[in-house]
Subunit: 272 residues, 2 copies
């Protein structure tokens, strides 16, 4: 079993109730990574719903999740012929951590039309991108242990923050792949949309940016291989910013889109 599947595993403890174990390897900043939580919630809905694939998931982060046991409960709001909608909650020791709504369907049953006008991230080949292993020490201090959970090869043109020379442009791009040759699927896309550092890093604000809300749309089942991620923001204001993520698969298809509303980091510091 691949590490990702082990780490989002669930034990059904009652109908629509699951025990999860949030693994310490997914810690970043003060808590557990939001994309990992989103994938865990998506996994619970997949177990409960009659449809296999997340089409839309909206998560509201209520408090910071910590490594350790968590209870995940799902509640059916509608089961239709082609779509199921569920509410799903993750609680630790009685404290609500994250609540979400999710509509599931079957990506294989969608029609084949594609009229995407968005363009794929313009990323250099992987051998010219920069992974955590190649990075300066300042970078490596940022996000252990999260950055050991997957291969993330950054576009050097959006990696100024790692060497203390942020570009001033709120854009970060990277290649992404899970360990263990675990191929991408819709649950992995829920992780991928929140796997990268906040784009505010490229504005020289190196603190972590707590997510208030994140909605992901999964638009197609990803082809095997590396994914390309683009994170960007257009409206930093009022102490907050929106962060859009696009995920493109190896076949050149835009397979997921997400937007989150996050608080801007308050302090300019490298860790936590």
């Amino acid at each position: 079993m691949a590490e990702f599947d082990r780490d989002i595993a669930l034990d059904e403890t009652a109908p629509d109730s699951y025990a999860a174990e949030l693994r310490p390897g997914w810690v970043v900043g003060d808590g557990v990574n939001g994309g990992y939580l989103l994938a865990t919630l998506g996994h619970a809905v997949r177990r409960s719903a009659t449809h296999p694939d997340p089409l839309a998931v909206s998560a509201y982060y209520l408090s910071t999740s910590q490594p350790g046991p968590a209870e995940v409960t799902t509640r059916r709001l509608r089961e239709g012929r082609t779509l199921s909608t569920y509410a799903v909650d993750l609680v630790q020791h009685g404290t609500p951590r994250i609540t979400a709504l999710a509509t599931f369907g079957d990506l294989d049953l969608l029609p084949g039309d594609i009229e995407t006008t968005a363009s794929a991230p313009d990323l250099p080949p992987r051998d010219r991108c920069v992974g955590a292993a190649d990075a300066p020490d300042g970078f490596r201090q940022l996000a252990p242990p999260l950055l050991d959970r997957f291969q993330l090869l950054f576009d050097p043109g959006t990696l100024g923050w790692a060497s203390g020379s942020p570009s001033g442009r709120p854009l970060i791009q990277a290649w992404f792949r899970l360990h263990d040759d675990r191929e991408p699927d819709p649950l992995a896309l829920l992780l991928a949309v929140d796997a990268m550092p906040p784009v505010t890093f490229e504005l020289g604000r190196m603190g972590w940016a707590p997510t208030l809300e994140l909605t992901a749309h999964v638009r197609a089942r990803p082809a095997p291989g590396w994914l390309r991620l683009r994170h960007e923001s257009r409206n930093l204001a009022g102490g907050m910013f929106e962060e859009d993520c696009e995920v493109w698969d190896s076949a050149g298809r835009l397979v997921a889109q997400s937007r989150q509303l996050a608080r801007q980091p308050r302090r300019a510091e490298l860790t936590s």
Copy 2:
């Protein structure tokens, strides 16, 4: 009392339970407009929460709302010092219509920083834009009675659909203002993000596009006066499309952003 406030009015029937009357004036296509429903849900959370303003609202549309009575119930998920998060449901005759999550705060307490790189819609002056009253008959058949609920003055460059010559570009822009000199506020922004026809009209697909999910972020309290709206899509595929709306106020500030996932219209027809 302005028409908009009358139409989103609520009677509290029990703690966190409200009776609404969905007015027939908001019908479009087969049901009641999604933005009007979003504003009604936002109003209910405002009544229940300790914080006055929607910051993020994510709505999942479960079935088509009809004019007539509706019950709206709110459920507190978290009340913090600066943010409250609620679940809110709208039900008609026992049938769930729409379920949402919402985080409220106080827009007046947000810091004053603005670093928006997005640009306001490039709209001609209002006297060179086109309202429903000026429009060809084909246009007027589209959306009665919804288009009588507010002033919507379309950019003629994104109005090809109204005369049978869609631009082929999924973009629609307009000036927006409520009747009765009712100035915009955060609840009106929840309406505004879903007040325009779907951008698929400009691709020549004139059917209504049912929303699966819509998330709105309110980023600032709008200044009095006209709003400018921009609707666009970048990824039409698999029978669905995402539709992003930006709302800019009279002071030139990006006050709301939304994204929805909708089904593409199946038939090329003007009505229903």
